[in-house]
């Protein structure tokens, strides 16, 4: 239930905020050094980082619950315990991957 709702919420978030950031980023790169500097400033601001972390989590959550939906579309995984385990796995996986990625980006990336 929760994971199914999250699939919608993260999908809507990626559709609106995710594609907006992607488009802004591409336009900033095309616009030259100055326009990229203003994008970098916004992306490096604490609020910007929080949004980017949120989008990263939304991507992984949507990816994992999307795979879960593809499996269920095939008719598999409807047993209650299997279904629940798969749902919890998507939550654990998305949080772990997001945390690992951002710890690397913020602490170790050159």
């Amino acid at each position: 239930m929760l994971v199914s709702i999250l699939h919608r919420v993260t999908g809507a978030g990626l559709s609106i905020a995710g594609l907006a950031v992607l488009t802004w980023w591409l336009a900033a790169i095309a616009g030259g050094a100055d326009s990229y500097a203003s994008f970098s400033k916004a992306a490096g601001h604490p609020v910007g980082i929080i949004i980017l972390i949120g989008l990263t989590w939304a991507f992984f959550q949507h990816l994992f619950s999307g795979i879960r939906h593809l499996v269920m579309d095939s008719g598999a995984g409807f047993e209650l315990d299997t279904n629940k385990r798969f749902a919890i796995l998507t939550l654990v996986g998305s949080v772990l991957l997001t945390a690992a990625l951002w710890v690397y980006v913020l602490e170790y990336r050159p």
Binding site: G11, T23, L26, A33, I67, P110
Partner: protein, 131 residues
Amino acid sequence: MSLGQSATPLGKVRGLGSAREGGEHWLTERVTSIALLLLGVWLIASLLFLPALDQRTILEWLHAPSGALPMALLIVIGFKHALDGMKVVVDDYVHEPGNNFALNTLLLFLAVGGGAIALFALARIAFGTIA
């Protein structure tokens, strides 16, 4: 006479049957999802493995076909998948035909417009000259 009380069998089912469409939308959403799985992982991996994230490095990465081509696919398929997904959400929650049409049209304009802006920016990067 209301729809359900029609005298003839034909009158009872007329207008209630299959729309004969929708299957393609459902399938497209899933096929694009598999493409985006690959392209999304490609984007994140690329950003992680680029030596730096300054404008010059990203410009050179997306100027080369090996960067520009997957990015073009990501833009087109990403906006398409977003539009398909948002249509499902709108159709699920907005039932009044006028509002439903207005919202779906707005989404279509946003997706096509946004996709065009992103593609145009990428074209400038890919086909422009690097000073």
